[in-house]
Every structure is written in structure tokens, then in C-alpha cells.
């Protein structure tokens, strides 16, 4: 076990003070953060999406910004704008909220496609071009976007090609009765978010990111990943399957999850745990299948069911 991995239990314990009953989802988000992939949380209102993003930012002592997406939000509201300074007789660049380490893009499907693509381009490139000048984003730059799956009125659903920019799409879901009672009790006097303190610094996060790259992946595991991804292309009801980028993302995320579980190699369980979150949002189902009730998550579950697991 390498030294940086020793930090993981501390981070998890810190986060679990705030987010209870979501251990599996928490680990996946942490895996994505460490493996350098962005996360789309798709869930009902009030399930803890924002709290999770804030807690993560606080735990790693990173800079945190939040953008509430609305239909009239402009790309410059995210990227930043140059303002003429009469005193200095020059344009001064005022960086937008994207110049941060952890960005929470709330209700990302409410903004116009133009604004959405400004964010998504930044996520893909790791840099932004404003007025001809290219600026690199922070190397820890990590986006947690949220969207509300039940509302369609006044929203612009993200196109499949742009969904591909997110490494994971997760939903937290409701916790069980005991957990929910515990949440109510915990917040009687004040929010536990106020209690937590940073336990790792930016340099340690960079070390963890390096450690993810060193997690070993056997030939058999790579083959298993590719088999699952390829199977989505032939699955019935699928118009557009997952591409090689999905194979890359699934491998990388599995490495991240292995590190979160304090292992230095990937096992089939990691791949299976992440196949749904990594692959489902990249599939385009044909209308006929959609109409008869098929879902992308269901297709991935079928693929996992029919593929023999390495044992």
C-alpha cells in the first residue's frame, strides 16, 4: 500500500459525517474525483447533491464555486468577462466561476445549449479560450453537475455527445428510514457541514491522483472492460452504444475505485460496480425500445447479467 492511499479512510470518514447512508455513491464520486472524471448527479430535489459537493470541497480544502444554471445564463457568466478599466485605460479580465477547483453546476439542463457547451468544452479541454486568449484551468478542476430528472418543462436536455464528457452519472436516491431519522437528528442544532474541517490539502490530492494511475490493471480486466463496453453496442434496442472513450473511462474509474477501497489492483467487482454509472448515460436507445419501457441502465444491467464474470 502506497503512502497516499492511507489518506483515503480519513477522507471517507470526514465525508460520512455529513452524508450518511450513501456509502457506495460516496465512494464512486470520490473515485471519479481522484481519477479525474466529472460527475453528473441526476436525482430528485433534496437528496443531498449540493451537500455532497460542498462537503467534498471542504474536505480537500479546495476552492469551491457554485453556479445556478438558468435559461438566461450566458457563457460569459461562467467563463468570465473583460471589463474596461477607465483608470488604467485597459481591459481587465474578471474570471468567472469556472476558475476554481471544485465547481457545482446546479440544474445544468436549465441553461441554454450555448451556455451548456461552454461548460462542457471547458470540462473536455481543461482550458478555456476567452477573447482569443487561452487560459488553463486548475489541475484539480472537478465538476459536479446536477440535473433533475422529473422536470422537462423549460429545460434543454444535454445531448448524448455532451453527456459523454461526464465520466459518471449517478443518482443518490433516498436513504432508508433510520438513516433519514439520523439526518434529521444530526441537523437539529446546526448543519454538520459547518463542523467538518479540511483533512487533506491540494498537494495530497495531486499525490492521490498520481497513485490512481499506478493502480494495476491485468490483461484479463482490460478485456472484461472492453467486452462489457462492446456488448452495449450489440445489445437490442440500442441505437448508439458506448465508444472506446467509455472503455477508457471505465478502466480509469475502476482504478479510482480500487484506490478508494485501498487496493492496488482492479478486480471485477470494481468494474461491475461502475459499469452502470459509467456506461448508461452514453447509450442512445432507439425510440421503439424506449417506448416499450427499456432504459439505458436496464440495458447495462442486462449486459452485466449475460457476461460471465472472471472468477
Amino acid at each position: 500500500m502506497k503512502a497516499p492511499a492511507k489518506l483515503i479512510p480519513r477522507i471517507v470518514a470526514n465525508l460520512e459525517q455529513v452524508i450518511s447512508g450513501q456509502s457506495a455513491a460516496l465512494r464512486k464520486v470520490l473515485a471519479a474525483f481522484l481519477a479525474g472524471g466529472h460527475v453528473l448527479l441526476e436525482d430528485n430535489p433534496g437528496t443531498g447533491k449540493t451537500t455532497l459537493a460542498k462537503a467534498l470541497a471542504k474536505t480537500v480544502s479546495a476552492t469551491f464555486k457554485r453556479v445556478q444554471f438558468t435559461p438566461d445564463l450566458l457563457p460569459s457568466d461562467i467563463l468570465g468577462v473583460s471589463v474596461f478599466n477607465p483608470g488604467a485605460q485597459s481591459f481587465e479580465f474578471h474570471p468567472g466561476p469556472i476558475f476554481t477547483q471544485i465547481l457545482l453546476a446546479d440544474e445544468v439542463n436549465r441553461a441554454s445549449p450555448r451556455t451548456q457547451s461552454a461548460l462542457l468544452e471547458a470540462m473536455a479541454e481543461g482550458q478555456v479560450s476567452i477573447e482569443g486568449k487561452t487560459t488553463r484551468l486548475d489541475d484539480l478542476f472537478f465538476v459536479i453537475a446536477t440535473q433533475n430528472p422529473i422536470e422537462f418543462r423549460g429545460t434543454y436536455p444535454l445531448p448524448e455527445a455532451q453527456m459523454d464528457r461526464f465520466a459518471l452519472r449517478l443518482s443518490l436516491g433516498y436513504v432508508n428510514l433510520e438513516e433519514e431519522v439520523a439526518i434529521v437528528s444530526a441537523q437539529e442544532s446546526h448543519h454538520p457541514l459547518d463542523d467538518i474541517e479540511a483533512c487533506v490539502g491540494a498537494s495530497e490530492v495531486r499525490a492521490l491522483r498520481e497513485a490512481v494511475k499506478e493502480v494495476r490493471v491485468s490483461e484479463e480486466m482490460k478485456r472484461y472492460v472492453v467486452e462489457i463496453v462492446r456488448a452495449t453496442r450489440h445489445a437490442s434496442g440500442v441505437q448508439l452504444g458506448a465508444g472506446p472513450r467509455a472503455s477508457l473511462a471505465l478502466t480509469r474509474m475502476a482504478q479510482g475505485l480500487a484506490l478508494v477501497e485501498e487496493m492496488d489492483f482492479v478486480i471485477p467487482d470494481h468494474v461491475r460496480a461502475l459499469a452502470g454509472p459509467v456506461l448508461a448515460h452514453r447509450l442512445a436507445l432507439d425510440p421503439q425500445a424506449k417506448f416499450s419501457g427499456a432504459t439505458a441502465a436496464g440495458v447495462v444491467a442486462d449486459v452485466l447479467r449475460s457476461a460471465p464474470a472472471p472468477a
Binding site: E220, F265, P308, A311
Partner: protein, 662 residues
């Protein structure tokens, strides 16, 4: 075959016992059981297996069609199931003697053949084929308890191998007979349900009723309330020499004794009729000396029952071209032949007016007491007493034609009014009914006038079918009329108003035309079949075509085979850690009944069975062993030699601890 030794053979012998085909059963059983001792194996490629499977499917389809058209339902279905395992014999044998333990699923299911799977799903036919033999035995079922008993024994035998080792044996011993008992009760209940449905289902669902005639007894619908319904099914096809001027009555049976609602043939013992001259010719009467026109009819009768009663015109003297083993007739003119169900083609020569049936007996003038009063009253009003027989007939015909109407519907108030019988009620009050009322009333009225008369049943032939190029008689054309003894001969007297045919034709349902077409097709197919002495050319042609196609499928080299060969991908290189000691832990748990699903990782598997496996002690140690296993299998760095030894030792230790009783 993955079935335990002798099980499949036992199932086949069980089939032989029930179906009676002992020789075939013993041969098949030996062929399958010998596979356990014969070391020789043959290599069948999946392509070859596909063709064998197609051959079986074609065989099944041909057998189904042939059985349906020769035997008709339901015998065809029963025979089809009895012979189904034989149809799949080539495929099952190729698995038993093939080098592979199992076959690809696509061999059985065509639709799965083209699916591009790198590791096709494989399937061992053993138990499926075992079940097929049991199903076939059930079709041949001798309808006693031996089938149920045998079924339970064979099923228990098969299940014994798969009993869960993780549960006490006593539970299994209780549950198997319980399941057998529930199965038996369910089967009885299902049978009752079928009887109930058949009793309540529309007529066309009920299968081949045919129009059966009992020469001893005719139960009439006299006195029944409500609508009289009859089927549109064609039962007779008649080709006369010339066009029919008026409806032709084809007689089946006559009855002399009326017992109220039912006619009986009291004095009518059957006597055999000897075959004479050329084969299939049955003389009924010496041809009359005087030169009278002998007419001929060609008839095809469709019978749903064994030993049908033939439909013959009045004055029949000879039956020709009828291949039956025996023929007998009674004094009242009914002619019955020994014949299996299906089509009965024959020709008949007849001289209208010739007396064939025996002279009248005292029973032919008996009038039942209950109706005597009203009959005498009407006979008196018509002044029939002492009238000449011909005149009396005319008077009776006139009486019914003027005062009575045809109806298939009897209102509720009609029957059972006071003491009046249904016939008395018909004569006095309703004056409306169907042919059975008219025929019965006419017989009784003639008898009360002293004229011997009988009640005759049969068919009224009058509908010309362009499709068949013949006259057809449907079940609803079944008719009854009167035979009166006039001038030393029996004469047919039909007093039912001629509108009856029109009234009943209106009841024809919308699908009757399609049913007619289907019936016509079946007859054409029947006519294709070879008769004695003919060369079955059509069948040779059909058989040759089927064989040629099968041969091409089996031995030809279709292009698709090459494409498939190119599309197949090389199997993955062997992965490390295939000799992991953890597999011993796994097989130990599998023996206890905790099978790991193919798509489950070992960790998921242990998490799933953990809460249930009572004897899954040493849980912590098991997790440690799994960690070793995962490192060996999935960590490219692997285990050191020392660690491997340690891993193996700990597995041995774990196995020792969990196998010895606490």
C-alpha cells in the same frame, strides 16, 4: 448426456410400456445407454448439428401435416406427441455420441444462430430429451394410475442427483411425494376444467363431432325449449348422375317404437352382409326383374366415429367401392360398416321405390296411449279411417302443409302444459316445430289411421357447392321424416315444410365459408393419398422433395458456413491463477448447494450466500482467502511463491475445519 446412468433408458422403456412399441423402445434405450460404454466418439461441427436439427424439424413438420390430414384431430395431436422423441432421435444421438458434452443453443433455436456471440451459450440436451420421452409416454397414456406412479418415480430419480446437499435429506423425502401429489391433483382438476370448458364452449371449438347415428336409438329434441342449433360442418358429399330436381333424402336409420321424446329400433337385430363379386361390392337386394332405371350416386362420408352408419337413398340395391372389413344391416334398413374414423367413400346403386327393408311388423302400427286420444280426434276429423292408403297420405300431407309452420324455436310455455305431451301440444296448440315434430306426428297420425309407418333419420341433400363440384350435406341438413308402407313398399313421406332449409341456412355463422374452404382442402389432401392398387405418385414426389432438401442441408456446403468460420474470433489467452486454491473452496460450497452464478464475482457470491449458508463458518478467514485469490488472479504483480504456499495451506486448513463436525 448429463442424466444419471440408466435414467434415460428407463424413461424410454416407460414410453415403450405405455405406447406398446416395445421393440422401438428397447432399441432406443440400448442406443443411449450403450453410449456410456462405447468409447468411440464422433466430431460433429456445430454446422453439421444445425443441419441435423433442421432435419428433425422438417421431419416433425411433415409428420404433423401427414397425421393431421390422415387421422384428423385429436388423434393426430396424440400420435404427434407419441412420436416426437423419435423425430429428435438423430439430434439426441449426435450429442450422445459426439465429442462435445453439450450443443450450442443455436442448434435448437434457429433465431439464436446468427447472434454474434463470442462464447455461445451451450446446452446439454440430456434432461430436455428425458422430459420429451415422458411427455410422449403421457400422450400414449393408458389412463390408469401407472403413468402417474412412473412419472413420480422417474422425476424423483432425476431430482435425487440434484438434491440440495445443504438441506436435510428428510425435507427432500417429504417434498418430492408432496409435489407428486399436488401434480396429480392438479392434473385431475385440469381435466375437470377441460370438461367444463368443452361443455360451455361454442360448437366449432369442440372438434370433430361428425354426425353420429345410433341405429338402435334416436334421442330427439322434441320438448326441448329454446333455439335448436346445428353445425355447418360438411358431413356428406354426393355426386349424382344427373342434377337433382328436388331434395334427395339419404336414409341412415329407421325406428319403430316411440317412447315419448325418444325413438327406438326395437325389432332390428343386425345381420351381416356378404361381400360379392369384385372387392368392395356389397349387394343389399337382388336387382328387381323388371327393367327399371338403376340410378347411381357417389358419396363421400366424413365420420368422426368408428363404424359409421351409411347414408343411403331409398331403394338401394348395391354398395360399390367401399373398402370395409365388415358390413351389417338391420331389418329397418340401417347399414353399418366397420371403418376407422375419417373419410368413407363409396358408390351406391338404387332403384327408387324398391322395397329393401323388411315388411311391417305389429310395432309399426302401435300408437302410444298418451297421444292416442288427440290422434284419433284428428284422424276422425280428416276421415282417415278406412281411406285408401294413398289418399290418406295425401290428406295427412295436406293437413300439415296447411296448418303448420316450421320453427327451430320453441317458446318456454310450449312444453309441459298440464298433461299434454310435447307432440300433443305441437298438434293442438303451437302447430310449429322442427322436423322431428313433423316426422313423429306424421308417423303417429298414419298409424292411428291403420297405415304402418316408421320414423326415419338421415340427411336431406339439396345444397350444390361450386367449390366441391358436388352436393354437400352439412350437419344441419340432418333430417327426419316418415316411411309409410304403401302398396307393398316403404315410401318416404316428408311433411316438414320445405322452408326448413332456408330457415336453418340463416343461422350459418360468418366464418362458415372459410370453414368450407378448409374442409375442401382436407378432402383434396385425402384424395391425394394412395388407395389400394394405385401408385402414390404425389407422395413419392413430396417425399423425394423433402429428402432432397434435407440432403442438401446435410451435405451441401452453403456459403454461410464459410462466413461464420471467418467471423469467429480466437479464444482469449489463458489467464493467470487458473490453478488458484480458492477453487477448492468454491467446489466445496457448490457441493453444499451454493452454486455461483456465471455472472457473479466471487465476492458478490459470498455476500449473497453469506446470510443463508448456516455452515459458512470462518467467515473472516474466507475473506482473507478471497483476498489472496483476487491477488493471484487479478493483480499483475501476483503472489510470491511463499505466499502461494501459505494460501494453499490456509485453504487446506479452512476445508478441514468446515468439513469436520463441530
Amino acid at each position: 448426456m448429463n442424466t444419471p446412468a440408466l435414467l434415460l433408458g428407463a424413461a424410454i422403456l416407460f414410453w415403450g410400456w405405455h405406447s406398446g412399441h416395445w421393440a422401438i423402445a428397447v432399441g432406443c434405450a440400448l442406443a443411449f445407454e450403450a453410449a456410456r460404454f462405447v468409447p468411440r466418439r464422433w466430431e460433429f461441427t456445430s454446422d453439421r448439428l444445425n443441419r441435423i436439427s433442421d432435419f428433425s424439424a422438417v421431419l416433425a413438420a411433415l409428420a404433423g401435416v401427414w397425421l393431421y390430414f390422415t387421422l384428423g384431430n385429436p388423434q393426430a395431436i396424440v400420435q404427434f406427441f407419441i412420436w416426437l422423441p423419435i423425430v429428435f432421435l438423430p439430434l439426441a444421438l449426435s450429442q450422445a455420441y459426439g465429442t462435445h458434452e453439450d450443443i450450442e443453443i443455436g442448434v435448437i433455436f434457429r433465431s439464436l444462430r446468427r447472434a454474434r456471440r463470442r462464447t455461445p451459450m451451450r446446452f446439454n440436451m440430456g434432461y430436455a430429451y428425458f422430459a420429451l420421452w415422458i411427455i410422449a409416454a403421457s400422450a400414449a397414456n393408458r389412463r390408469d394410475a401407472s403413468f402417474e406412479a412412473g412419472l413420480i418415480v422417474l422425476a424423483a430419480w432425476a431430482l435425487w442427483q440434484a438434491r440440495p446437499r445443504s438441506r436435510p435429506l428428510a425435507v427432500w423425502l417429504v417434498l418430492v411425494p408432496l409435489a407428486g401429489g399436488i401434480g396429480y391433483a392438479g392434473q385431475v382438476a385440469l381435466h375437470d376444467l377441460q370438461l367444463w370448458i368443452e361443455g360451455n364452449a361454442p360448437e366449432w371449438l369442440r372438434g370433430e363431432g361428425g354426425a353420429n347415428t345410433n341405429p338402435y336409438r334416436a334421442d330427439t329434441d322434441i320438448g326441448a325449449i329454446g333455439e335448436l342449433k346445428q353445425s355447418e360442418r360438411i358431413v356428406l358429399r354426393v355426386r349424382p348422375e344427373a342434377k337433382l330436381e328436388r331434395p334427395l333424402l339419404l336414409h341412415r336409420a329407421s325406428y319403430d317404437t316411440y317412447t315419448g321424446l325418444r325413438w327406438l329400433a326395437a325389432n332390428a337385430a343386425f345381420a351381416p352382409v356378404a361381400q360379392a363379386g369384385s372387392a368392395g361390392t356389397w349387394p343389399l337386394k337382388e336387382q328387381p326383374g323388371e327393367v327399371q332405371a338403376v340410378q347411381k350416386l357417389a358419396i363421400i362420408e366424413q365420420s368422426g366415429h368408428v363404424n359409421p352408419v351409411l347414408s343411403l337413398p331409398s331403394g338401394s340395391i348395391r354398395i360399390e367401392g367401399l373398402a370395409a372389413s365388415e358390413m351389417k344391416r338391420n331389418a329397418l334398413g340401417a347399414v353399418q360398416v366397420e371403418h376407422r374414423p375419417g373419410y368413407v367413400p363409396y358408390g351406391v346403386s338404387f332403384v327408387p321405390g324398391a322395397a329393401v327393408a323388411a315388411a311391417p311388423s305389429p310395432a309399426d302400427v302401435a300408437v302410444p296411449r298418451r297421444e292416442a286420444e288427440i290422434l284419433n280426434e284428428i284422424a276422425g276429423a280428416l276421415r282417415l279411417k278406412g281411406m285408401d292408403a294413398r289418399a290418406a297420405l295425401a290428406a295427412v300431407e295436406g293437413y300439415f302443409a296447411e296448418n303448420f309452420t316450421y320453427s327451430t324455436y320453441q317458446p318456454r310455455t310450449a312444453a309441459g302444459q298440464g298433461n299434454a305431451t310435447a307432440i300433443a301440444d305441437f298438434l293442438q296448440r303451437t302447430r310449429s316445430g322442427h322436423c322431428e315434430y313433423f316426422a313423429t306426428a306424421t308417423v303417429l297420425l298414419l298409424r292411428s289411421a291403420g297405415i304402418p309407418a316408421r320414423y326415419a333419420t338421415g340427411f336431406s341433400v339439396q345444397e350444390w357447392s361450386e367449390l366441391e363440384r358436388a352436393y354437400v350435406a352439412r350437419e344441419r341438413h340432418a333430417h327426419s321424416w316418415t316411411r309409410a308402407w304403401v302398396d307393398g313398399a316403404w315410401r318416404d313421406v316428408d311433411t316438414t315444410p320445405a322452408t326448413w332449409e332456408l330457415a336453418e341456412a340463416k343461422q350459418a355463422p360468418w366464418w362458415s365459408r372459410a370453414a368450407d374452404l378448409w374442409s375442401w382442402l382436407r378432402l383434396r389432401f385425402f384424395e391425394l393419398q394412395p388407395r389400394e392398387g394405385e401408385t402414390p405418385l404425389a407422395w413419392f414426389a413430396l417425399g423425394a422433395a423433402a429428402l432432397a432438401w434435407t440432403a442438401w442441408r446435410l451435405f451441401g456446403k452453403p456459403a454461410r458456413a464459410k462466413r461464420e468460420a471467418r467471423a469467429s474470433i480466437a479464444a482469449p489467452a489463458d489467464s493467470p491463477g487458473r490453478d488458484s486454491a480458492f477453487y477448492r473452496v468454491e467446489s466445496h460450497l457448490v457441493e453444499r448447494g451454493w452454486q455461483r452464478a456465471r455472472n457473479e464475482t466471487p465476492r458478490e457470491w459470498l455476500a449473497r450466500i453469506g446470510p443463508y449458508a448456516g455452515q459458512l463458518r470462518e467467515r473472516g478467514e474466507l475473506a482473507a482467502l478471497l483476498a489472496f485469490h483476487y491477488r493471484l488472479r487479478f493483480d499483475p504483480a501476483g503472489l510470491t511463491l511463499a505466499e502461494r504456499d501459505q494460501f494453499s495451506a490456509r485453504v487446506d486448513d479452512w476445508l478441514k475445519r468446515v468439513t469436520c463436525k463441530p
